[in-house]
Structure formats: C-alpha cells, structure tokens
C-alpha cells in the first residue's frame, strides 16, 4: 500500500515537474542551472533532488518522446531553448478569441516598428505556439476582418539597442543625453539632455520618446527649459545616447499648462459628435451647428498638430502662443503655394 501510494505521489510529482519545466522554457532559453533553479522554485523545493542532471535529462527526453516537444541545446550560449511544443497544447481558445488574435496579427504586422519594439510579435508567436496544431493551422488561414489602420514605419529605422537604452533610462529614472537630428537645423545634430518618461507610438507610424527637455546645445530660444517634448526615436543618432548618473524624482515636474479654446465650424460639429482630443475638454454646441471647445494642453506643438487636421474648419481662439504658431504655419503654407 505504502509503495503504491509512494509511486503515485512520485508520478504526480514528475508530471508536475515536467509541466513546470515546459512553463520555464516558455519564458525563454536558460542554462541547465537556471532551469533547475526555476523548477525548484516553482515546486517549492520538490522539483529536482538527488541526481539532478539525470532527472533533467529524463524529463527532456520524456517531453520529446511523449509529446513531440522540440527542446534544443544551444552550444554557443550553453542554454536550452524550446522550439516547438509538439502535441503538448497548453491552450485552446474560442473562435472569438482567435478572431481577436487575427485582428492583432493584421494590425501589428511583422517588421513594423510598433509590433517589434513593443514585443507584440513575440507575444503573438508565443500564444500561437501554445495552441493545438490543428487550431494553429486554422489560425494561419484565417483572414482578419478587422484591423487597426496604423501606418507601419519599418522597425529597421530604429536600432534595437537605441530602444533598449531609452527603455533602460525610463525604468531606471535616469537622465538621458543624445544627439538629435532636428528638422529645423538643416540636418545638423543638436545635443539634448532630457528627463525621459515614456515611449509613445503614434497612429501615423512614428515612435516618440516623451521627455522633459533639461538642456539643449546649442541653445534654442524657441525651446523653453524645462518643456515637454516628443522626440522621434528615428531622429536620435545611434551611438550618441548616454545614460547620465542623475536619478530623477518619481514624479514628473508638471509642465506649464495652457487653457486651450478653439471653434469648430458647422461642417465638422453639426452632428454634435466632436472628439475630445485634449484633457478636461468641455464642448459647447451652438445653434448654428458650430462648437466651441475649451480644454487644457501642456504641449502647444502637439496641440497644433492635432488641430491642423481640421484644416480651415478650426479657429484657435487661445492661448495667444498657439494662435501665433497657427499664423506662422499658415504663412509658410501660403508661401509654398505662391512660390509654385
């Protein structure tokens, strides 16, 4: 009786250990010691005991023989990597969820900046790996009937090491300095020192670092210090990024906020469904079909970009600084067409 109970318990432990091993491998390649440690942690010390090396080899062989899992040993890095789950499907999903997966795959295609740098492709590949083979095949043939229309600038335009450095600066709350190719300076590079806060993917396909400008060399009178700026990552000069030792406070200093007021013509406001583009938006619809929007903005350049989409249907009433930005943009646009 005791023996039978012991064998049962032992079989159950081995089964659990193999599942823990697969879960560990799903996180990514690991050396032998890393696998053993992770499994033991998962099983609170009941994983690998005694002849550890032999037990691990048995488990890897069993995963291959019983389920067709493909685990390879990468000699160069001395790590084990799970390449294929075989028949060990740990996940199945209802059709609606598979449709959602297809939506994500269509919206975040391989090779584009956002999916690559936000690791979305990696996540999708891992989820697909967990599905039964038949469902995976079915998914490959599925045509997405929904997708986000995001412009897909190629990921190759932004070096992965550059993104990694920016991410590290944000996580470690460290100041960052870099050379930046500004469109205003005829391709010349300008040295910036910033407090980095977030990487932002915009629908037009560009990737930005949302940061507070602390220093710019040479000085730019048009850029007040400190001021929030969205830097395009593909305009940062690779190799110029330096993490500075200054650690930033956990709270971002509040930038100057502007009260923003603009009027929208009946052409765009008549249906009374104007989008609130800015924080604290209050929209008043008038009898003639027009609307007046009052809101708060901390970034005039971004506000200008947003409101320019309305074309002539939008008139900015305040702040005066934004009105001047619009006047300047319109003067330049007019000059473009007059000179042609």
């Amino acid at each position: 009786m005791t023996n039978r109970g012991g064998t049962k318990r032992s079989s159950w432990l081995i089964f659990r250990r193999r599942l823990a091993l697969v879960r560990t491998l799903l996180r990514g390649p690991l050396p032998r010691e890393g696998l053993i440690e992770a499994v033991n942690q998962d099983m609170q010390g009941q994983g690998y005991v005694g002849d550890v090396a032999s037990a691990l080899k048995h488990d890897l062989d069993a995963l291959k023989d019983e389920y067709g899992c493909r685990v390879v040993y990468q000699r160069a890095s001395k790590r084990y990597a799970l390449e294929h789950m075989g028949d060990l499907a740990l996940l199945d999903l209802p059709d609606t969820s598979l449709e959602a997966l297809a939506f994500l795959e269509a919206s975040f295609p391989e090779g584009a900046a956002l999916p690559e740098h936000a690791s979305i492709r990696d996540l999708l590949d891992r989820v697909l790996l967990l599905l039964p083979a038949a469902r995976r095949e079915q998914q490959r043939g599925r045509r997405a009937i929904l997708s986000l229309q995001i412009s897909d600038s190629p990921a190759s335009r932004i070096e992965p090491t550059l993104v990694a450095t920016v991410k590290r600066a944000i996580v470690q709350r460290q100041e960052l300095s870099f050379a930046y190719r500004s469109p205003r300076a005829d391709g010349a590079t300008i040295q910036h020192r910033v407090a980095p806060y977030e990487i932002v993917f915009r629908p037009e396909g560009h990737v930005y670092l949302d940061a507070t400008l602390l220093e710019v060399t040479p000085r730019d009178p048009a850029a007040p210090i400190p001021s929030p700026i969205h830097y395009r990552l593909d305009r940062m000069v690779p190799g110029s990024l330096v993490l500075l030792p200054t650690v930033l406070p956990p709270l971002r200093p509040q930038p100057a906020a502007y009260v923003l007021r603009y009027r929208l013509a009946p052409d765009v406001a008549r249906r009374r469904d104007v989008a609130p583009h800015f924080p604290n938006s209050e929209i008043i619809y008038h009898d003639d079909g027009s609307a007046t929007v009052t809101a708060i903005t901390t970034n005039l350049w971004q506000a200008r970009q947003t409101l320019l989409r309305y074309g002539s249907a939008c008139t900015v009433l305040e702040p005066a600084e934004l009105v001047e930005l619009f006047r300047s943009a319109i003067r330049k646009m007019t000059a473009n067409y007059e000179s042609g």
């Binding site: 100041e175 020192r193 407090a195 602390l214 500075l244 030792p245 200054t246 650690v247 930033l248 406070p249 956990p250 709270l251 200093p253």
Partner: protein, 74 residues
Amino acid sequence: MNDTSPGAMAQLRLVESWLPLAQAECARYGWGYDSLRLEQLILLAAPSLRHAPTLLAARALLWHYQQRMERGER
C-alpha cells in the same frame, strides 16, 4: 569662477532635478529654507533618494533627512 568639472556638473544636475520636490516639501512643512539650505538637504538625502521607488518614499526621505539636518547630524 564657476566650477565646470564633471563632478560639479553632476551635482548641479542632481540639485536641479530634485529642487522642485524639496521646495514643495519645504512649503508644505514650513521649514523656511533658502535655496542654499535646500541644496544641502538634497545632497544629504541624495544617496537614498536614488532608490526611492515612489513619490511618497521620496517625500519621507526628505522629511527624515531634514530632521537629521536640524539635529546637526550628517
């Protein structure tokens, strides 16, 4: 003459980053510190502030080091 050595510049940047929070705490608790005293407080607290994970932790550290400063400890 202004000291522009890397060490002095790093110290200046550190003070520049943390001054707004130190000023806010000074106003909140009525310490009445001038900029020189605030700078001393930031430099005293700096090694710990580097590791403050949240705003609350950073504020608590500033308060702790302010108490130490008042007691004449370093």
